[in-house]
């Protein structure tokens, strides 16, 4: 079978967010990583490959530097990497991003497409379901378990208070949760091989059945009106009171804030 995994290179917000002295985000100082949900999706694909045999192709859209994330995926065991990069694709919102990725995936054969649920920079969880919609595929979001069963996949789809065990005939698209698995490390041999292999680079002309009007900043229905780094909030009030006064103080604040 053939599996396509979509991954994104993201700034590492968890491993230590760096701030400038004025409280704004120091992006240049932040490392980049493979988005965690995507990595879980890749791991799921690699496990299917080991159990059932599969060819795993990793696709990313980004700047030329995003080549790194494909090398990492190949060092983990992915067979092929495709980088979709073009100036006209910049500034894309989720609609334009999903349109682009769908345009790339239309060139590929696939039984299963796996994306992460969401990326840690945007946190939208939109691109996976939107790719499925553009390709006319069934989508199962928030997968916490994936098992291949003949020409179908059985998936545990997580909700706040339950999960649904779903069965869907391939082809389909699944969005993966980080808790799906513990992704493997790259192996030294894998890293060596990954840099021997070629990454395929696609630009705008390689996207299939895509209208220019739906790409990049121009093709994004949502527009940023204002963006700002959140200035970190400083200390509030600190009081030294005896127990009864301290409790009365806090109860007063809670009432003021309509918490109680």
């Amino acid at each position: 079978m053939k599996i396509v995994v979509c991954v994104k290179q993201v700034p590492d917000t968890k491993g230590g967010v760096q701030f400038n002295p004025d409280g704004t985000l120091n992006r240049a100082a932040m490392l980049t990583i493979m988005n965690p949900d995507d990595k879980a999706g890749l791991e799921a694909a690699l496990r299917i490959k080991e159990e059932n045999g599969a060819e795993v192709t990793v696709v990313t859209m980004g700047l030329p530097k995003a080549d790194e994330v494909l090398r990492e995926a190949m060092a983990m065991g992915a067979d092929k990497g495709i980088l979709v990069t073009d100036r006209v694709l910049g500034g894309a919102d989720t609609w334009a991003t999903s349109t682009t990725l769908a345009g790339a995936i239309r060139n590929l054969e696939y039984d299963l497409i796996i994306t992460g649920r969401q990326a840690i920079d945007g946190d939208t969880a939109q691109v996976g379901p939107q790719i499925a919609e553009h390709l006319g595929l069934p989508v199962i979001s928030y997968a916490q378990n994936i098992k291949v069963d003949g020409d179908a996949v059985v998936i545990e789809r997580q909700y706040e208070d339950r999960y649904h065990e779903l069965k869907v005939t391939m082809p389909c698209l699944i969005t993966a949760l980080s808790e799906l698995n513990e992704p493997r490390y790259m192996t030294p041999g894998g890293i060596f091989d990954a840099y021997e292999k070629d990454v395929t680079v696609w630009g705008r002309p390689d996207l299939k059945d895509v209208d220019d009007a739906n790409l990049g900043l121009k093709g994004s229905p949502t527009k940023i009106a204002k963006a700002s780094d959140k200035v970190r909030k400083g200390a509030g009030e600190k009081v030294v009171l005896d127990t009864d006064e301290a409790v009365a103080y806090l109860m007063g604040k809670f009432k003021e804030k309509h918490i109680i």
């Binding site: 700034p11 979001s141 339950r162 649904h164 229905p221 200390a235």
Partner: protein, 350 residues
């Protein structure tokens, strides 16, 4: 994308999420916000109720401010599945042409929203915390005043793990769609006895390859609480002193219907399991209220909780760094303050 005839799109619509024929609280919160927006736009509020045998829930939506309720009722819609729900909601949008469509940012809404937005070819802004009506661009470029659009939905959301904030508009497409984090908007005071103005609509549900099969519905037995979903966290650190002394925090958490979490030192001491750990090596949380009790506030801990809406710190060390991020800091003995606070809250809520 069809960008013609934007003026045909009218009204503020809310997806009224129900599960097992019980409306989700976020539906009422969205109606409350929708009322504000509708007032600014001089229009009305419509709830879209999708499910099987759900008509009986419509009055409850009227009680919380829905002027009209569109009911899509079909046996195919019994349990949530992306396809029949997306078909239902996008058909409602195509038929009734709302100006604004709000959806809760739940595990359902964050799947339904993107699918529907792609299907009706409009933008969607995820996990909004502020919604208001205003101009786009916010300030017109000189000489281009006539190009500025008025009465636009301005959607503000955090990104970058909460480190940046963006305000987003969808000026050339309709509906303007947003998902909204649960617990952020306020529901209105109930209008007792309100009766829904119901419109029934069924676009037809013919199963196809996109209708997945539900083999099993497994409801979670409440085991390890997910601290990332908690609205209130009562978090303890080394200062709590022992595993047994977490009882003080359990009691406070019970009164507030909160969840207990902890710092890394607590996990290392074996007082609490690692699932409950907040911080750089644990989980990043952003509850509405975070109690930091006996937590000194090392940078690794703060990184995981500083985006909480309100932080209350209780620590006997006046110089503890946790006070640098706390909204309300109490310097004192947690063994005295926590039980007294629990008792006061219990009395208040009785």
């Amino acid at each position: 994308m069809n960008t013609m005839g934007l003026e045909e799109y009218k009204g503020v619509y809310v997806f009224a999420q129900q599960v097992d024929n019980v409306l989700d609280g976020v539906a009422f919160e969205l109606l409350g916000k929708a009322k504000d927006l509708a007032k600014d736009l001089d229009t009305d509020v419509t709830a879209v109720l999708i499910g099987s045998d759900v008509k009986g829930l419509a009055d409850e939506l009227a009680v919380y401010g829905a002027d009209k309720v569109i009911v899509v009722d079909d046996p195919q819609l019994k349990d949530y599945r992306t396809e029949p729900y997306a078909h239902a909601l996008s058909s409602v949008i195509n038929e009734y042409k709302p100006d604004i469509m709000l959806v809760g940012a739940t595990a359902i809404g964050r799947d339904l929203g993107p699918t529907v937005s792609a299907r009706v070819a409009t933008g969607l802004t995820a996990d909004c915390t502020v919604l208001e009506i205003g101009d786009f661009p916010l300030v017109a470029a000189p000489g281009k005043e006539s190009e500025q659009k008025h009465n636009q939905l301005l959607m503000t959301r955090p990104a970058f793990g909460g480190n940046t904030i963006a305000t987003i508009a969808c000026p050339d497409h309709r509906p303007q769609m947003a998902t909204v984090r649960p617990g952020v908007m306020q529901k209105i005071a109930p209008i007792e006895g309100a009766k829904a103005n119901i419109v029934e609509f069924n676009p037809g549900f013919e199963p196809n390859n996109r209708y997945v099969e539900i083999l099993n519905v497994v409801k979670a037995v409440k085991t390890a609480a997910n601290i990332m979903d908690a609205k209130i966290l009562v978090s303890g650190g080394r200062g709590v002193g022992s595993k047994e002394n977490f009882k003080l925090l359990d009691d406070l958490a019970e009164v507030l219907n909160a969840t207990v979490s902890c710092s890394r030192a607590v996990v290392e001491n074996g007082w609490q399991p690692v699932d409950l750990q907040v911080g750089q090596t644990g989980k990043t949380v952003r509850p509405q209220i975070y109690f930091a009790i006996g937590i000194s506030g090392a940078i690794q801990h703060v990184a995981g909780m500083e985006d909480s809406d309100l932080i209350v710190a209780i620590n006997k060390d006046e110089d503890a760094p946790i006070f640098d991020v706390a909204d309300y800091g109490l310097v004192g003995d947690l063994n005295k303050i926590v039980p007294a606070l629990t008792a006061a809250l219990k009395a208040e809520m009785a």
